[in-house]
């Protein structure tokens, strides 16, 4: 381990105590802000150019107040929602502070150590001014996955430092006083393998920012600056109190969850880590110190990513199902060791940052020890990102597309796990329709189907994963980023484990090649790629499963006869 521990507060501000703010106005303002964010989200989806944005929803929009406290967001990619504020903070600082930013300026920031993600995940931030231009009200911000911004490959698992991971824009003005800064656009286009699509997506984000800024200014005009500010304080207080109330119900103590990365992407050595959840009255501290040192590979999760997963995982448990605001984050503290896998320092590579995906399952498993039933058993534990690219045979045009894949969800003490849903860190992203893929990519998609026997057995069965098979109809390249290929989701309370994740490339001659983390793999025309996503862990001893449920699973093919014989012999006895 390197360096001394650092403690980070996950949310800004303090309880304002402004409890007498008008509750109706507060509710109208809260919904109004969410509606502004929702309009921004719709604009991004409806005007963007890459399927990663409009189908997968690999982006997030948010609205901040003048003190950079998150006021609202539209549900998209939960993980981004947790990091965006830190990116905007850094962008402002780099641009010379809040006062140096003028109406109509749009800042571009994508340095990983502050954005919490890789350079293709670029943040755009725009100040919001009142309609008379006199008062700075806050910021509209978007972080979205740009298809390519010039890393060594469109997607990488083998970088050795951050300089190989993409062109960096440390808070530059993409727009200045409402006018595009053509120099910056030139740099973007010159460094991207997909300049037209990237610029199209940037335009979509700009349209959304401008729309969001107008909508917020109108909202504030309807209510007045001061009542608006009071409503915001009350709204943040409410979020904070909700989370504190939840934490107060967890017995004080230290609860430890165990995680295990398959490898760092280059070496074959597994990387175990722990996350300790320390509950003290109404505060919760997530301790990431017991983790490997920063790796010389892009597996490292930068600090904002570590804070983000803490924010989002806790909000999912404690926020009553509502999208969080800054208040939700205030009771949360995060402890890291600088120089570790969860807090790498420049210029450590950090393109993947995948430990924070698995961290969701680890945090949930720790809290389940404190309060059984808090969360389901482990899911497939990863998002299985596959990024494809190539040049079209006929036109020579470059194309890139990629997506995460749904995994089986863990069972709970009262229900089977859900089959094939996106991992909780990406819970609002979506699978692209095959019919859309086939109008765009040189693919025949041969299969997208639930995988028999892939869920963990148990009194309550883990959800099953997916089998996806794609045949390339033209030569293509592929980067595969798949974790948890060695360890499937473990069961809980006597429940069984599930099938781990896996990827196989099969060459046209039938030769198979197993992939987990691999960069720029050549997929020749006619080859197929099979992605097998893991199931969720089971809950309770399989012998206690309701025989009717076992027979239903058999009839529906979620389990095979041999699986039933192996795990649920008690149910088969009654079959005849």
């Amino acid at each position: 381990m390197v360096g001394t521990a650092e403690v980070h507060r996950a949310g800004k501000g303090e309880l304002s105590g402004l409890v007498d703010a008008d509750p109706i106005t507060t509710e109208v303002v809260r919904h109004g802000l969410m509606s502004c964010a929702e309009q921004m989200k719709r604009t991004v989806i409806r005007t963007s150019f890459s399927p990663v944005i409009y189908e997968t929803l690999d982006f997030a929009v948010a609205i901040y107040d003048d003190r950079m406290r998150m006021l609202a967001q539209a549900p998209t990619l939960p993980f981004f929602m947790g990091v965006l504020s830190m990116a905007v903070d850094a962008a402002l600082e780099s641009a010379g502070g809040a006062d140096a930013v003028q109406p109509g300026d749009i800042l571009l920031y994508n340095v990983p150590y502050e954005t919490g993600s890789h350079p293709p995940d670029a943040a755009l931030a725009m100040p919001i001014f009142s309609n008379d231009g006199q008062v700075r009200l806050g910021y509209a911000a978007i972080m979205a996955h740009w298809l390519d911004i010039g890393a060594k490959d469109p997607y990488c698992t083998d970088t050795v430092d951050v300089y190989q991971e993409g062109t960096k824009f440390p808070g530059v003005r993409l727009y200045q006083a409402g006018k595009p800064n053509e120099d910056v656009f030139k740099i973007i286009k010159a460094n991207s393998r997909m300049p037209r699509m990237v610029v199209g997506d940037i335009n979509a984000q700009i349209a959304a920012l401008q729309m969001g800024a107008r909508a917020v200014a109108d909202l504030v005009e309807r209510h007045g600056v001061q009542p608006f500010g009071q409503a915001v304080e009350r709204m943040l207080d409410h979020g904070e109190m909700m989370v504190r109330d939840y934490i107060s119900r967890i017995p004080n103590g230290r609860y430890v969850g165990q995680g295990m990365m398959d490898d760092n992407g280059v070496d074959d050595t597994p990387l175990p880590f722990e996350i300790a959840v320390e509950v003290e009255d109404t505060t919760v501290r997530l301790d990431f110190r017991n983790a490997p040192a920063a790796q010389p590979t892009p597996i490292n999760a930068v600090l904002p990513a570590t804070i983000s997963c803490s924010r989002v995982a806790l909000s999912m448990l404690a926020g009553g199902g509502e999208p969080p605001n800054e208040g939700h984050f205030r009771p949360i503290e995060v402890v890291t060791t600088p120089g570790s896998m969860f807090h790498p320092l420049p210029p450590s590579p950090c393109f993947l940052g995948w430990p924070v995906v698995q961290a969701f399952d680890v945090i949930f498993s720790a809290l389940t020890q404190a309060m059984p039933g808090t969360a389901p058993a482990w899911s497939g534990g990863d998002i299985l990102a596959m990024v494809w690219w190539g040049e079209r045979e006929r036109t020579g045009e470059a194309w890139i597309d990629g997506c995460p894949h749904p995994v089986g969800q863990g069972a709970s003490g009262s229900a089977d796990g859900a089959n094939a849903l996106m991992h909780s860190s990406e819970s609002a992203t979506r699978l692209t329709p095959v019919e859309v893929w086939e109008t765009r990519n040189p693919w025949v998609v041969e299969k997208v189907e639930l995988a028999q026997d892939s869920g963990g057995p148990g009194q309550f069965r883990g959800g099953v994963g997916l089998d996806v098979v794609i045949r390339a109809t033209e030569d293509a390249w592929l980067t595969s980023v798949v974790e948890r290929t060695r360890n499937g989701a473990p069961g809980v309370d006597g429940g069984g484990g599930a099938r781990p994740n896996g990827v196989t490339l099969e060459y046209p001659d039938g030769t198979p090649r197993s992939l987990s983390k691999a960069t720029r793999v050549h997929v020749p025309k006619g080859a197929t790629v099979e992605v097998r996503t893991g199931g969720g862990g089971g809950h309770g001893p399989p012998a206690e499963r309701d025989p009717e449920a076992v027979l239903d699973d058999l009839a529906d093919g979620y389990i095979s006869t041999s699986e039933a014989e192996r795990c649920y012999p008690h149910a088969l006895g009654r079959r005849d």
């Binding site: 109208v28 919904h31 109004g32 509606s35 502004c36 309009q39 604009t43 409806r46 005007t47 150019f49 399927p51 409009y54 189908e55 549900p75 939960p78 037209r196 699509m197 199209g200 335009n203 349209a207 401008q210 729309m211 107008r214 909508a215 909202l219 999912m316 448990l317 199902g321 999208p323 389901p376 894949h405 749904p406 709970s412 229900a415 859900a418 089959n419 094939a420 849903l421 996106m422 819970s427 609002a428 992203t429 979506r430 699978l431 329709p433 095959v434 019919e435 859309v436 086939e438 109008t439 998609v445 299969k447 997208v448 189907e449 639930l450 997916l466 098979v469 529906d556 093919g557 979620y558």
Partner: protein
């Protein structure tokens, strides 16, 4: 029961709306005006109630002269909500058996770790894989395996499936395998219903299209049998005109089309009221109107902006996407029949269970003993009318008796319980209104509340208080307003296709060929609608910048279904719309993605209210007073009872008052003032002038 006009006059159009509790009829004749009837709904055979309403309102001679019969029903929706559909089997492309279950892999509630998708309408054991494959460009990669179809048929017969849905991948681009599979099944003697995905939607996205097709197959038997029975009954009574059913996206379809395409009629009931509200908004020049349609079992609300029903191009029902146009109406289980109970935590709860029409609220004296919202209103004196028609009278003692057990459990008086019931149901309705306004950034306080349905005007002033609304409108015939909304509908048929082609003059030839096909398709499959005015063909394109996915839908100039606009002018219009929607202008090339044909026939039955008012005496004759509870003042006071039929344009009624008419009751709380408008609407505002 009540008739504003005498029998025997020629009536040109009749609208019948079937709600959970009541079945309403409004008929209109250009010479004689409006006829209104309200009878109790007769589930599970709603056609009995419909025919009773028709028989009550119109004699056989009048019925035989009706040109149109327009119907609003929730038969299809109920079948879906109550899981009453047939046991369906799905034939899908091999490798894609789970389209319906995998969905898009996302969660409706992204922050809920325990969220699970609702169960699929077709269990996995009844989803069959068929070897066949059409590619995205429409070419055939794998021919259809006849044996697979045969084996699936054997298996689904063994499992006693009632009907078959076929949804193959890329069938939107090339339907030949779906058609061939249908033929094979028929050849094997299968004579059950078969629904093919490409006949339901020619748009891409396999999950959305499959879900729509499955919903269609699921509700088809119920809807089809129902419309058939009703059509026969109408014909038996002498009706010889055209029978139409309201579409979810606005406008109406013939019964024949509705039987083939029931998925287009899912929201048939609630949409009629929104169409009516849009007509009122246009007439009275309101830029924003919130509808509050309170019936016996449900509360439906929509936001009408600039006189247009809020139309979306994809709907969602019980978590399933529906690929069709859709008027955005929010519906919750809260109405006059909602039953109140005390829960385990000793809290007073209202709904979602409803006493419906049978047995109905305890006060109806039809055997109901559980306390409902209506019983609470009766206890508070909000409903002073003894005669509900159809021999229904309100029995105060029974209402009191029904509320008594709740009062005992809570240690409160029955009046306090009644007040709580009304407050809780009002809060639930207000929440639904917030969802369609506040959550979209619309301040409800800027909108007028249009209250209708049997119990809407009873709750109008409470809703206004709860949401701080400034203006309320009670339309004439408020109690049967949805049925009136049926009369303002046009007959509409649509067909659409996904076809991706660059926008250029040369491409417009291809587009025109598709339009010709689509209009031909509508002509060939749609029933003829006899209307005085010729059918209008409307041409609409989904356009986008090349490289984008989502489109803007733009209506394009055409004559007789052929585009008259050139590529340049279409592009200009698209860019103008794009700037209006998103505020940015781009130089990228534009392409066509979707081609949508609409055939609209204006039935022009009713444009506005002829004004059933003006034949009275200013409400004076009926003026009497009753003791009722003021929810604003929290005390009993004297409410003036005014007959609505006696009100002239310009007449003002000051609250506390209760305005009675045959199909509804308006509770005008203290401090509110109602003014009679020239078109017969009551506009209600707070006396203090807050609303001005």
């Amino acid at each position: 029961m009540s008739k504003d006009q005498s029998k025997g006059e020629r009536v040109s159009v009749g609208g019948v709306d079937v709600g959970g509790t009541f079945t309403d009829l409004v008929a209109y004749d250009p010479r004689a005006g409006l006829t209104v009837t309200k009878v109790r709904s007769t589930h599970p055979k709603p056609e009995v109630g419909v025919m009773k309403a028709v028989g009550d309102a119109l004699d056989a001679a009048a019925a035989s002269e009706l040109q149109y019969f327009v119907h609003g029903t929730t038969v299809g929706l109920n079948a879906l909500l109550e899981g009453e559909g047939p046991r369906l089997a799905l034939l899908s492309t091999r490798g894609f058996r789970d389209v319906l279950e995998i969905r898009r892999g996302d969660r409706d509630e992204p922050y809920n770790l325990f969220w699970r998708p609702p169960p699929t309408l077709i269990p996995r054991r009844l989803r069959f894989s068929i070897s066949e494959r059409i590619w995205g460009d429409g070419s055939v990669l794998t021919p259809l395996a006849e044996d697979d179809v045969r084996e699936a048929l054997e298996a689904l017969r063994a499992q006693e499936a009632d009907a078959i849905v076929i949804a193959f991948l890329n069938a939107y681009a090339n339907p030949e395998h779906e058609l061939a599979a249908e033929q094979i099944l028929r050849g094997l003697g299968y004579d059950g219903e078969i629904t093919l995905s490409h006949r339901v939607s020619r748009e891409y996205r396999e999950y959305e299209r499959t879900a729509t097709t499955v919903v269609n197959g699921y509700i088809q038997p119920v809807v089809s049998e129902y419309l058939g029975r009703l059509e026969d009954a109408l014909a038996g009574y002498g009706f010889g005109g055209t029978a139409l059913i309201m579409r979810s996206g606005g406008g109406a379809l013939t019964f024949g089309d509705g039987r083939r395409r029931p998925f287009e009629t899912l929201l048939s009931g609630p949409v009629a009221g929104v169409e009516g509200a849009a007509a009122i908004a246009r007439q009275m020049d309101f830029d924003r109107v919130i509808t509050a349609d309170v019936g016996g079992t449900s509360f439906d609300t929509a936001l009408v902006v600039d006189g247009r029903p809020p139309v979306k191009h994809e709907g969602t029902i019980v978590g399933l996407p529906i690929q069709t146009t859709w008027v955005d109406v929010r519906s919750i289980g809260a109405g006059g029949g909602s039953i109140a109970h005390v829960d385990a935590g000793k809290l007073l709860r209202v709904g979602p269970r409803s006493a419906g029409a049978d047995p109905g609220p305890a006060a109806y004296g039809l055997g109901g003993t559980e306390p409902t919202v209506t019983d609470a209103a009766v206890r508070l004196g909000m409903l002073p009318v003894d005669d509900l028609g159809e021999g229904l009278t309100l029995d105060r003692d029974r209402a009191e008796a029904a509320l008594a057990p709740l009062a005992d459990q809570l240690g409160l008086s029955t009046v306090e319980v009644a007040r709580g019931v009304v407050a809780i149901v009002t809060a639930k309705m207000a929440d639904a209104i917030r969802e369609i306004t506040v959550e979209r950034g619309e301040d409800p306080r800027r909108a007028a509340l249009l209250a209708f349905g049997g119990a809407g005007p009873l709750f109008a002033t409470q809703l206004a208080d709860e949401l701080r609304l400034k203006s309320i409108v009670i339309p004439p015939l408020a109690g049967t307003f949805s049925a009136w909304g049926l009369l303002v509908a046009d007959a509409v048929r649509t067909a659409s296709r996904t076809r991706i082609v660059g926008l250029a003059d040369a491409a417009l030839e291809e587009v025109n060929a598709v339009f010709a096909e689509l209009f031909g398709e509508i002509g060939a499959t749609a029933d003829a609608v006899d209307a005085a005015q010729p059918a209008q063909r409307e041409t609409v394109l989904d356009l986008r910048y090349v490289g984008q996915e989502h489109c803007l839908t733009v209506e394009v100039e055409s004559e007789d279904g052929r585009l008259t606009a050139d590529a340049e002018s279409i592009q200009r219009e698209f860019k103008r719309e794009y700037v209006r929607a998103y505020g940015v202008e781009m130089d990228d090339p534009v392409e066509i993605v979707g081609i949508r044909a609409f055939v609209r026939r204006r039935l022009h039955a009713v444009e506005s209210f002829a004004g059933p008012n003006g034949n009275g005496d200013g409400g004076q004759a009926a003026a009497r007073e009753v003791e009722a509870y003021s929810l604003r003042r929290r005390e009993w006071c004297a409410f003036r009872v005014v007959e609505r039929s006696g009100l002239h344009a310009g007449d003002v009624v000051e609250g506390p008052a209760i305005v009675v008419e045959s199909t509804t009751t308006t509770y005008l709380d203290a401090d509110y003032v109602a003014k009679t408008e020239p078109n017969g609407c009551l506009t209600v505002t707070l006396e203090s002038g807050e609303g001005e």
